[in-house]
Amino acid sequence: MMLKVTGKMIEVRKYNSKDIRIKELGGVPMLTVRGDLSNKRFQTIIAKTCDVRIPKPLNIKSSKNLSLAWMSPDELLIFSFSGAFHEKTQKGLDSALKGLHSLILDVSGARSLFLVEGILWRELLAKGSPVDVRQSSFAKDAFRRTRIGQVSVAFWMASDNSVYIICGRSHSDFFYDWLCNAASDGSLTKYF
């Protein structure tokens, strides 16, 4: 689902091929939350602070102010839609989770975010990722941590025709080049 960031997301760079549009976006604050996702108290605090319940494994969910992604049985990733809300969430979680074994870290600078648009986005992912990206297995709300080519990534659908991908910030130049190459004209054939 779309990250409805208030104000405009920073467009770091973009590339358009015949089939695909690629944008690198900046300015989306992110929080890593570690904790026992099966713990009732932890679940309640997350739901209350984030205004959305913890998503099922391999899923992402959104509220008005943020998207919440399931990273592992003890890790969540929060994409906040504004800097102010990001800070509020971090502070809120910090105090609410006190006494419960957990860890909240600002990772806004640790990752790069890309938006890939175009009807052949599934094909583009399939060029580098072993994930099953058929409609039947990878649809709205699905969130996958995997690799694309040689880069660790996570991705989820932004809309029917677009997908968000995050990778480590230090890989963003390489990954951008990878995406542009994979999107190049004549290299994508309708498959899904």
Partner: protein, 1004 residues
């Protein structure tokens, strides 16, 4: 001659003429041709030279099993060697060149090898090593090197593009012959999703060349109807030009899609695409491969398989010759004979090694009046670059010639081998079937998936169902089994009526004549591409190579690019005969992927040039680039080695950077250092186990240098640990070790100490880390403002958090240079801003960036170790005088017990020392051996090696560190460092501390 026949050629579009060249000659073909059929249509029967003897060779097959017609295609950056012409679809403008000849294809100087065949017997390669001693280097190696290899290696980088494609499919049917098409159709009918792949550019397989009727229509028409239905079906996907090359565990299949035609037509920018398929069920419908018969001269151009001749005629309208002699041990060559005869070509004789035959095809032949000779064989084929005649002989006996029959082509059939390769790749067992004369998949030992269930089913000729009515029955059974496995609703299988045709029994004879003389045997080719003859097999078995695996390696039988598709079974039969055993006992060699050769480009995929390997960049990368950085790869990162100013050498730059940092102010991008947060109630306790020293006693707001050893006690990483809060630590690692240390911690946490309540998070990329070093560094921080960094408030190894220059920052007072130094971490988003502020504000103090080499020089001057320089996987902390950082109080830590071994406490262990040269400004070579008592042959005098070496601009002399045996007792002594055979440097051993040993500067 071979020529085009107008009334056949099912695949051709004769309105579309295509031009191509062969060895520079302009030729024409039609759309639908393969390069092979187009060459044959132009009477190009001689298409290559054999590997060892450079014998003239022609087409044997029409498909992937072709051993001879390997060609080089294209030129320059599009040059590709060793392509089988039978698998290349013709497109306009192909440039093909034949291979493996010195001089021209027609007049090959290498053919001389043929006359020296006696010096190339089985195992000749190994024999050349034996004696005489001088001969390998001066005689055999030059000859073999000259002769070796098939096509040339390309001289330019490949211009084409390749990629990968990952897909998950439910059911994958491999092979679109009659069985594969029917299985796909039936499976799809029950609602299953099926992907059908076919290595050729058309569907139908050998059935497309056959003559029987199905449901009252000719089989090609019937196949066409099924294909149409499949194309219209929503749950069927068809991929042509797709070769399944390997089956792996859990239904994982690798396939290569050939997009050359699409690329030439401008429909694809990719040439070959490597598919990685995850399947739930594989259906092998890979058919069978026809075997040659073995007789003298069976390799002369013009001798080909009966199935190939039938394909060339039916699909491409090409005749194998005007007069074709047929030799066979089964009925399938009859079909070809009938077709050639009906095309108006002459078939002077069908030589049948069987005693008799019966059946419908036999009846047809007889009614046509074609002469059949039973119980006969071929003594020899006459001709050099083209078949001229065959000599008929009795099957028994030594091969005395009964009659010479003129002809310009010979077609042969030695039976059929089921294509079971893919079945075997993943552990499927094979059993020999005497009656069908082939190896078949053993259904009782099939490849199994993660649930222990079969995931490969085999249909059609690949499973031994050779005749059409058997195929229909067999497909029906397999489809029902799969439907049951996938619990689909029951759908009645189509009722299909196959024209009833009676076939005669085949026999298992594979060479003629049975008593062939040694002279004949030395012309009887078993493996065409590698020139293995019956005489070679005889010699090898006689020399004791009785295991099939040994026979293969000794004779090179089946080791060529075709991997013995035609030759293996005949070789096995010979071995079994020789040993008097059954084929099942002899066994077969192991089939391994790839089924057919694929291009190296497809394996590389997109990972070439800039995409070859990821390069990691810090937030300051562009700044470094714009300011003269000379790069050094560290881990996957690029770090500035030094910043070059105009007209400056690297050495000058390093020297300037060191001096400036020592005297004024330096700034370094240290962002690549690993940063791992370890947090939780048990964090201190957990880190006590990870590090050799005590971490739990660290106060909040303090830093401690820590060492990590592996379970063998060897040092593998170091870094500064910071206690951010009571339960939260920040662990710095080396640049290259960041990911490894993170995984190391996770692994121990998840597998051994899973009950410790800690979270481990790698936050390396979240921060830009900047080192400010030099006597004026405190001044800069004060000028930036926001934090009290005075001597009292921020002591050595203290840590502070707050805002510096209005940017959120953590300040660690740690020093790797020996100067007063602060490491400052700011969130990556503000990294460049902070860096630029430092430079701007620091200009008044003479700030200048320094690179990794200046950093290393400064740490060496101080005697600080570098992981990877002073350590090599066999070094323990104690060797490096770091015993103080190995806790004696802790009950346990990783490496503790290993370090208690006697060997680790041997006083003779190498110890880290410093080296200073006497009266020389020469740099000591890195890694050089250190000796005492002069160079000796046995190297007994070697006492260690140089681990780090630099020219110190601070001290104006070369300095080095070394690991020396019993180093502590060598202090003050003179040692020698041999540089080359002439030169030996003399150095004095010292403590490994060259500058400010007391640490006054860093503690200022």
């Amino acid at each position: 001659m071979s020529t085009r026949i107008s009334k056949a050629g099912r695949l051709l579009d004769r309105n579309k003429r295509l031009s191509f060249t062969f060895n520079g000659r302009n030729l024409f073909g039609f759309q639908g041709d393969t390069l092979a059929s187009a060459l044959l249509a132009n009477d190009q029967v001689l298409v290559g030279r054999s590997f060892k003897y450079h014998r003239p060779r022609g087409f044997v097959s029409s498909g992937v099993d072709e051993p001879n017609a390997l060609m080089s295609l294209g030129h320059g950056g599009n040059f590709e060697p060793n392509r089988s012409a039978t698998t290349v679809e013709l497109v306009d403008g192909i440039e093909a060149v034949s291979q493996n000849h010195l001089g021209s294809l027609d007049w090959d100087l290498g053919f001389i090898n043929n006359f020296f065949a006696k010096i190339f017997p089985a195992g000749f390669y190994y024999k050349t090593f034996m004696k005489p001693r001088f001969a390998w280097k001066h005689l055999f190696e030059p000859i073999i090197r000259n002769a070796a290899g098939l096509g040339r290696a390309p001289s330019l980088p490949d211009e084409a593009a390749y990629d990968y494609f990952y897909a998950h499919v439910d059911i994958l049917v491999i092979g679109a012959g009659m069985a594969g098409l029917l299985a796909t159709y039936e499976l799809a009918k029950s609602g299953l999703k099926v992907t059908l792949v076919e290595q050729k550019h058309y569907l139908g397989g050998y059935a497309l060349s056959d003559d029987f009727e199905v449901d009252g229509v000719a089989v090609p028409k019937w196949l066409e109807n099924i294909e149409k239905k499949l194309i219209d079906s929503d749950n069927v996907q068809i991929k042509k030009n797709f070769t399944a090359i390997g089956v792996h565990d859990h239904g994982y299949l690798i396939g290569c899609e050939n997009l050359e035609v699409a690329e030439k037509m401008g429909r694809s920018s990719i040439r070959h695409r490597l598919w990685r398929l995850r399947t739930k069920q594989i259906v092998l419908a890979t058919g069978a491969i026809e075997r040659p018969l073995i007789f003298a001269g069976n390799d002369i151009p013009g001798v080909m398989l009966s199935s190939a001749a039938l394909d060339f005629y039916k699909l491409y309208g090409v005749s194998p010759g005007d007069r074709t002699v047929v030799v066979t041990n089964n009925d399938s060559a009859y079909l070809t004979a009938i077709n050639l005869y009906n095309a108006g070509l002459s078939v002077p004789v069908v030589i049948d090694v069987r005693e008799e035959s019966s059946g419908d095809l036999f009846e047809s032949l007889r009614s046509m009046g074609i002469r059949i000779e039973y119980g006969k064989g071929i003594a020899s084929v006459l001709g050099k670059k083209r078949v001229k005649a065959v000599e008929l002989c009795s099957l028994t006996g030594e091969g005395s010639v009964q009659e010479t029959i003129e002809c310009d082509s010979v077609i042969m059939s030695g039976g059929w081998s089921s294509a079971v390769h893919l079945w075997s790749h993943c552990g499927g067992r094979l059993i020999w079937n005497d009656q069908l004369d082939t190896f078949l998949p053993d259904a009782s030992k099939s490849p199994i998936d993660e649930n222990g269930e079969d995931f490969i089913a085999v249909v059609g000729a690949a499973s031994g169902s050779f005749w059409p009515s058997e195929v229909v029955q067999n497909v029906k059974q397999i489809v029902q089994k799969i439907q049951k496995k996938f619990k689909t609703s029951k759908v009645k299988s189509s009722s299909i009526s196959i024209q009833e045709i009676k076939y005669g029994d085949s026999n298992s004879k594979y060479f003629t004549p049975e008593g062939a003389s040694e002279k004949l045997k030395s012309k009887c080719f078993v493996d065409f591409q590698n020139d293995v003859k019956l005489s070679d097999l005889r010699l090898a078995t006689q020399e004791g190579y009785e295991s099939v695996e040994h026979l293969k390696r000794y004779t090179t039988l089946g080791m060529a690019t075709d991997q013995g598709k035609l030759s293996n079974i005949n070789g096995l039969k010979y071995l079994a005969d020789f040993l008097g055993r059954e084929i099942n006992e002899v066994g077969t060699t192991t089939f391994r992927p790839p089924y057919t050769p694929i291009s190296l480009g497809s394996i590389a995929g997109e990972a070439r040039k800039g995409l070859f390997k990821p390069v990691r960049k810090t937030t300051l990368h562009l700044w470094h680039e714009a300011n003269g950085a000379s790069w050094e790869p560290v881990g996957d990162w690029r770090r500035p080695y030094a910043y070059l100013k105009k007209n400056e050498t690297i050495e000058q730059a390093v020297s300037r950077e060191v001096t400036n940092t020592r005297n004024a102010l330096g700034i370094l991008d240290a962002s690549t250092l690993g940063k791992i947060i370890v947090s939780g109630p048990d964090a201190a306790n957990f880190l006590d186990l990870m590090y050799t020293n005590m971490i739990s006693t660290l106060q909040v707001g303090r830093c401690r240098y820590g060492l990590m050893c592996n379970e063998n006690g060897f040092l593998f990483d170091d870094g500064v640990v910071v206690r951010l809060a009571e339960e939260t630590f920040l662990c710095h690692t080396t640049t290259g070790g960041a990911d490894r240390v993170y995984s190391w911690m996770e692994e121990w946490h998840q597998t051994e100490w899973w009950n410790k309540r800690v979270f481990i998070q790698n936050v390396t990329e979240q921060f830009t880390q900047i080192t400010i070093a030099g006597p004026k560094s405190r001044l800069l921080l004060e000028e930036l403002g926001g934090l009290d960094v005075s001597r009292v408030s921020l002591k050595p190894l203290d840590y502070l958090e707050g805002e510096l220059a209005k940017i959120k920052a953590r300040v660690f007072r740690i020093s790797f240079s020996g100067e007063l130094s602060f490491e400052i971490a700011v969130p990556s988003q503000f990294g460049l801003e902070f860096w630029e502020k430092c430079l701007e504000t620091g200009s008044q103090f003479g700030i200048s960036p320094y690179g990794t080499e200046a950093l290393h020089v400064m740490r060496a001057e101080k005697g600080f170790i570098m992981i990877g320089d002073e350590t090599d996987g066999t070094v323990i902390p104690q060797d490096l005088n770091l015993g103080w950082a190995v806790s004696k109080k802790k009950k346990d830590f990783i490496g503790k017990r290993a370090q208690e071994r006697i060997f680790m406490n041997d006083p003779n262990r190498k110890t880290l020392v410093g080296l200073s040269l006497q009266n020389s400004s020469e740099k000591i070579p890195d890694g050089a051996s250190v000796i005492i008592g002069g160079v000796d042959q046995a190297n007994d005098n070697v006492i260690g090696h140089v681990t780090s070496t630099y020219f110190s601009p601070t001290l104006d002399k070369p300095i080095a560190m070394a690991l020396l045996k019993d180093g502590k007792n060598l202090l003050g002594r003179s040692i020698e460092i041999p540089v080359d055979s002439e030169k030996i440097l003399k150095a004095i051993v010292s403590e490994p501390k060259f500058y400010d040993a007391e640490g006054n500067r860093q503690n200022d």
